[in-house]
């Protein structure tokens, strides 16, 4: 970056350039479009120069990696010390089916587990519930009880591998099942590493896998913070997510702002509970999307780290530097993958994974090319995993920390995204805060508007999607189908029936009773949920008790 005198010279030179070299060039060859925009419809200028970073202090705005404000990365050595975790989101059919897929992925080099659950499980229903009809195992694994959890992790050493579970409304229950499973194997909870997504706010805003209304749901979340800090200290009880917000149609700026606003809301609730911020903040983790626009995405991660560090230290007064760190998982953008010419999705995923790596993610999932058709087939998921491995070992991008730091464009974008986020924070504040804004439908409307604008850009061919509205071929894609087996479904039903028949019904009833009372009162629900799980209560039974006490959420209508 240049000093003041140089800057004057740069400015002058630039002006000349515009009046001569550029002008002549434009006359001979006009630019292809009137405006160039990012995937988020953000305007991008022709050229970024030292003027764009003028007056901005390196130590203040960037800092060194591993130092406040962590813009360049949360560790001093980043991938030179340890590569990001290659953690492939997986799940379909029964626990046996998914256990097989876990082993396959571990064999092929994944370094962390990530569990996808089926719709009934996500919504707190057992496989044999009437709401679950037709939905068994189609988009994830069905887990209705601790027995399923045991099978899911059969022959997998949970003391050595970290497990991320994408579960939200019933997260405490599923976590309790994991803990009970570990307990049965004599693995102390202090050794367990992993994450439960448990981010209910983004459900109301984007993914819609809610059950209960906001207040009781937040209570359940803070219960996990409290419990985890004491009993499962290496576990991340939450993964504050922007991925789903982005998939629902938000721009990069909205994804950034809404995710961090949600994060700060969780911190507030933890503090209101009486927890000291440094007791739970170090274990808050994040989850961002990795979308198409390479530079915008990298800028987004950097802005996220900077904003979070500042807010945690200065607004919430956290003293422990570990509380200032934004640790994140990333997933490449599912919504960007096409049904047409699906092999091209391998290319898209590669670019997106590159963005996440250049952006400093701690953990990464890459989508498979058959994303627009089904959950990943075996070959497809292997290609996705190899994509990460090639990036890690062949591309050289992991050799140095924050390689694009200092790029005029990148730094300008990082700043722009940061400013946009703060504008959104103000707006949310005006609306009364995150939960009032949810009730008013603010996030949902912003997201729906962005989604509609994006689609209109595609319809008008303002935005080209290769294979979809240009470079189209009329061919039948070859996708190896993956079907959930009827046998798996029956086995699951049998298992449930048998468990209900053979469990100690008195113990079971008592446990649910005590849980009901705990939900009605103020006690931390986790120990009672654990007792219910140990008494062989099913997911559906426990959630039904909660539905009874907490009620069910009704969302505001917006489109």
């Amino acid at each position: 970056m240049a000093d003041a005198e140089d800057l004057e010279a740069v400015k002058a030179r630039l002006k000349t350039w515009e009046g001569t070299t550029l002008k002549d060039s434009l006359k001979a060859l006009p630019e292809r479009r009137k405006e160039f925009v990012t995937t988020s419809s953000r305007s991008v200028r022709r050229l970024y120069t030292p003027l764009d970073v003028a007056g901005k202090s390196y130590s203040e705005r960037l800092g060194n990696p591993g130092e406040f404000p962590f813009t360049r990365g949360i560790h001093p050595t980043m991938y030179r010390g340890r590569l990001w975790t290659m953690r492939m989101f997986s799940g379909y059919g029964s626990a046996e089916d998914t256990n097989k897929r876990f082993k396959y992925l571990i064999e092929h080099g994944e370094t962390g587990l990530s569990v996808a659950f089926d719709m009934p499980t996500l919504y707190g229903y057992d496989t044999d519930a009437k709401e679950a009809k037709g939905e068994f195992g189609t988009c994830g694994v069905a887990v209705s009880s601790v027995e399923d959890m045991e099978i899911l992790f059969n022959a997998i050493d949970v003391a050595r591998v970290s497990t991320s579970m994408t579960i939200n409304s019933p997260a405490s229950v599923v976590w309790a099942m994991y803990l009970a499973m570990a307990e049965k194997r004599d693995v102390p909870w202090t050794k367990l590493r992993g994450t439960i997504q448990n981010d209910i706010l983004k459900e109301y805003e984007a993914q819609k896998e809610w059950i209960f209304p906001p207040e009781p749901s937040m209570r359940l979340v803070v219960d996990t913070f409290e419990f985890g800090a004491k009993e499962v200290p290496q576990w991340n009880p939450i993964s504050i997510s922007g991925y789903h917000i982005r998939e629902a149609g938000a721009t990069a700026g909205q994804e950034l702002a809404f995710t961090l606003a949600n994060g700060m809301e969780y911190v507030r609730w933890g503090i209101d509970r009486g927890l000291r911020v440094d007791d739970f903040a170090p274990r808050l983790s994040f989850f961002f999307n990795a979308h198409n626009d390479l530079f915008e995405e990298i800028a987004k991660y950097r802005a996220a780290r900077r904003i979070w560090a500042r807010e945690m230290r200065d607004t919430f007064g956290a003293k422990n530097p570990r509380s200032w760190l934004l640790r994140t998982h990333a997933q490449t953008a599912g919504v960007s993958l096409t049904a047409q010419q699906p092999e091209m999705n391998i290319v898209r995923t590669t670019i997106q994974a590159l963005a996440a790596v250049l952006g400093g993610t701690q953990s990464l999932h890459t989508n498979s090319y058959d994303e627009a058709y089904q959950v990943p087939g075996e070959k497809a998921v292997r290609i996705a995993l190899r994509t990460q491995q090639i990036l890690a070992h062949e591309s050289g991008v992991a050799n140095t920390v924050d390689p694009l730091g200092g790029s005029y464009y990148l730094e300008a974008l990082t700043d722009e995204l940061e400013e946009e986020a703060y504008r959104y924070f103000d707006r949310i504040q005006e609306l009364g805060g995150v939960i009032p804004a949810i009730r008013k439908g603010f996030f949902q409307q912003e997201i729906a508007n962005s989604a509609y604008r994006y689609q209109m850009e595609i319809e008008d061919k303002e935005r080209i999607i290769v294979g979809v509205n240009d470079f189209v071929v009329d061919e039948q894609p070859e996708v190896e189908p993956l079907k959930v087996s009827e046998a798996s479904y029956r086995a699951q039903l049998e298992r449930l029936k048998r468990m209900r028949r053979t469990r100690d019904s008195k113990k079971h009833e008592r446990a649910l009773d005590r849980l009901r009372r705990a939900c009605d009162g103020d006690d931390n629900t986790m120990p009672l949920i654990l007792d219910a799980v140990r008494a062989r209560a099913t997911l559906g039974e426990i959630c039904d008790v909660m539905r009874e006490v907490f009620g069910v959420w009704e969302e505001p209508l917006l489109y």
Binding site: E554, P556, L557
Partner: protein, 339 residues
Amino acid sequence: MPARRKRASSSRSSPGVSALVDSLLRGNKRAAAKLISLIEDDEPEAAEAMALIYPHTGHAHVVGFTGAPGVGKSSLINRLVRLFRARGKKVGVVAVDPTSPYSGGAVLGDRIRMADTGVDPGVFIRSMATRGHAGGLALATFDAVRVLDAMGMDIVLVETVGAGQSEVEIASRAHTTVVVEMPLTGDAVQTMKAGILEIGDVYVVNKVDLADADTLVANLRFQIEARDGWMPPIIRASALEDQRIDELADALETHRAFLASSGNWNKRELDRARQEILENARRLLAQQVRGPGTGGESFEALAQRVVARKLDPQSAAARLFQEAVGGTAQRQSRRAKSG
């Protein structure tokens, strides 16, 4: 209130419409839906259908709901539906949403709130778009209400858009008008729409679990006056308390009983009949004058003359009226002659 008859009469109606109406009177939902569409689309058989249906109406209690968008009308209605069903009543709902002035289309989303009641055989829910009609209702709204009335609904709830002058329109057509408000969060001073304080029979302050409602309730209490012997109650409601919905349902039933016993039911029906006849007359006249020539001077020609100051607007109208009435009289006598 007239006794219910069970067959569509009239030997001169088209078989299709008669059959539909017969079906309707037996409580068939598909028939009701088809008839409402017929009327909404202003099909040629619509007038005939309404003529067949009308004698079977007058039984249902029509309750209109007005209030700003987002205030929670749909949810309240959903809970009322469930409650009335538990009390053994059959319930109809007509929910109106605005038509886009640009595209002519509409997204009708009030039904979302009523997902769990739609499949109940004793419930019928219809969404309507305003289709260009100013105010918060569709032209066909109250005809649709009549269809549901004839079908056997004991109570029909009408949800308006909540914007414009919908409250005035609904107050003139419903038996009971419910005004739904909600307390504002924050420090903003809450102003209320002009006229809202004069047309409600029942006031609901909704979402009281989210903000302090005392000021709003006090304001309403202070400003609302008794009308025709009825003092509008103010009911606090929230999604968390079912007990309040009981209060609301009770208030509605009390108002209905009051209307019956005080003679106000008939008074309002008479007012409405007068209004409707006049409105229909106006519409018929407008149709006539703009229609194909009745042999006299055309509407357009008259307009030209008015602009040219050869004729004043009042005289032009009188001339048209003569034409229309005279023409009609002529046609009627012609028909009578040919039997």
